[in-house]
């Protein structure tokens, strides 16, 4: 009953939020006009043509930004779920474990011209971010491992250390770069922002987030087995080593692509899976899709807050998620007896 209620609530909230998010922003628009834009665009030209400015704001600015918020929020949340299953600890998150800052460093290195473009221009930066994230999480994971278990203390400390190292690397290349005008762009990766999203920039992060979702849904049963422990999982027939490598690769890939498109937005992958689990339990078949939806929602609302909190000034959305996420993280840390599920 509780599960159904949660599913129903999240879905209803999702649809409602979509409409609210395109109707509210830094400019106030007439709600009827916003609906007219949506009807006109979605039906391919039915009804009266909407006001041109409203059309630009709703269709070219808000909708791509909202969809990117959904993809990034959902993607980061399920990667949070994957990381937490991998290390069997609910304190894991792509930001805390240094994947995001590794990806930021990779993206900055590429952007400032320290890495050669291997693929086309649009794919090289996500690739660089992926490799940065992969390097970071590999180091953290190898350091935190003790035999078949992962030490939480080492994990968090290694994550903090790698984050600091990667941030230092980003700062270093920023200062070393002869091109001072690009500093602002690097700041964007450090703080995270969804502003300036266009339709053209949307497909890659959206497809990656969805790919991550589908792959993790396939892996739902092995992930469940992981919660019991690696040995029991192995005895249940789960290819443990391969699954772990796959999880690390997938986490670095999804985080890298998302960071390249929206910067390092933290703590989404920490808050969301925790909240979802407290409603629907630990089964990954539920946790993964619901985390995706809830995470998408969370970032959507955080981005909305970033636009309306201060009048006349937009905030980078990463500030909002950190303001929500850090107290939450500290709260979880304090509850040292924390285990998965209710």
């Amino acid at each position: 009953m509780r599960v159904r209620l949660f599913v129903f609530g999240v879905t209803a909230l999702f649809l409602l939020s979509l409409i609210v998010a395109v109707a509210i922003g830094s400019e106030s628009l007439a709600f009827g006009e916003v609906l007219r834009v949506l009807r006109y665009r979605l039906t391919g030209g039915l009804g009266a043509a909407p006001d041109q400015t409203t059309d630009l704001i709703v269709w070219q600015l808000r909708l791509p930004r909202v969809l990117l918020a959904l993809a990034v929020g959902g993607g980061l949340s399920i990667i949070g779920v994957a990381m937490q299953a991998l290390v069997r600890n609910p304190l894991a998150d792509p930001y805390i474990l240094g994947i995001s800052s590794g990806a930021s460093a990779g993206a900055s290195l590429f952007y400032l011209g320290f890495l050669p473009p291997l693929l086309s221009a649009t794919l090289s930066m996500p690739l660089a971010a992926f490799l940065g994230g992969l390097l970071s999480i590999s180091v953290v994971y190898l350091i935190a491992r003790q035999g078949n278990t992962v030490s939480v203390t080492r994990l968090l400390l290694a994550g903090v250390a790698m984050s600091a190292l990667m941030a230092a690397l980003t700062s270093f290349v920023t200062f070393a770069s002869p091109d001072t005008d690009r500093l602002r762009a690097v700041l964007f990766w450090l703080l995270g922002s969804l502003d300036g999203t266009t339709w053209a920039r949307l497909p890659l992060p959206a497809a990656t987030a969805v790919l991550g979702l589908l792959l993790l849904l396939v892996l739902a049963r092995p992930l469940d087995a992981f919660l019991i422990g690696e040995e029991p999982a192995f005895n249940l027939g789960v290819p443990v080593e391969m699954t772990k490598r796959l999880l690390i690769l997938l986490s670095a890939l999804v985080t890298g692509v998302l960071v390249a498109s929206s910067g390092a937005i933290g703590f989404v992958g920490l808050i969301v899976p925790h909240a979802v689990r407290s409603f629907v339990g630990v089964s990954h078949r539920r946790v993964i899709p619901l985390s995706f939806l809830t995470g998408a929602l969370f970032l959507l609302w955080a981005d909305l807050a970033a636009h309306v909190l201060l009048r006349g000034q937009i905030l980078p959305v990463g500030i909002i998620t950190a303001l929500c996420g850090v107290p939450f993280f500290l709260f979880l840390l304090r509850r040292n007896a924390y285990r998965f599920g209710p």
Binding site: V3, R4, V7, T11, G25, S26, E27, R41, Q52, T53, L56, I57, W59, Q60, L61, R62, L63, L67, L70, P178, D179, T180, D181, R184, A185, F188, S193, D195, G196, T197, T198, W199, A200, L202, P203, A206, A207, V210, L213, L217, S283, R285, R286, P289, L290, F292, L293, G312, Q313, I314, P316
Partner: protein
Amino acid sequence: MARFRITSLLLAALPALLLLPACTPPDAPPAALTITDDLGREVALARLPRRIVTLAPSLTEVVFAAGAGSTVAGVTPADDFPAAVDTLPRFSALPMDFEAIAALRPDLALATDQVNNPRDAETLHTLGIPTVFLSFRSLEDIYRGIRHVGAWLGTADQAEAAADSLERLAQGLQAATRTMQDRPLVLFLIGDDTLYAFGRDSYIHALIELAGGRSATGDLETQAPILDDEFVLIANPEVIIGAFGPDYDPATLLEKHPTWSSLDAVRQGRVYSLDPDLVLRPGPRLLEAGRQMAALLHPGVLVEAP
């Protein structure tokens, strides 16, 4: 059963997300005017722009100097000159508030690579707002920028006159200081705590030359160096000019950098401060900053105001 339902619900929602029609900006009518901007980008304009937004304060000043101030439809929160901007709508520039800009319905955005992110131009493009970048690394860039803006906005004659008068002002300064033997070494500082300064490729060194001095930081490789006390001690400038505002107390600088008491500039009491808006915005008021600098470096020399 609940499991099945969640998954299928999600799977049903996915194609909708992916199939949302990707959209291209509306077809542009044939261009009446093609501009090549300072970054080498070609920008086609359907007609003479009537409503523009300036994405940095220096650009606003350039547009007003070019005689096209009436076309400015919105400015950033940092804009405060000329007074006519006080009544104009504002939009957040860092990060860029695209919604506010779209709501102003401009037909051209002016940007500068020294403040704005080229990535923003792509987003403005999808809004149907062509974006032109200006780059001000020398005084000549500013004269040229004023002339270009005048040509783009249909006020070429006024812009020409404004640029000419700035050039004459520069020539007047140069004539007054050219033959001077005593050319003090000037350290120009942007910050008094963290010692931000100008490295190579800046107009500031030419301005100091015009004012009859020599710049201490013109050879630095980085464009926006942060100096350390050692550099300053070894350079031993005869004059320090900061962009700390006209009310700055020179004693503050010595409090923050006690070792500087040995500097010639400090011992001779030649630590000055100028209005940052005047000297840090690469715009038409730079020559006024140059005139003030000349008056500080060579108190006896009289340079006529424009």
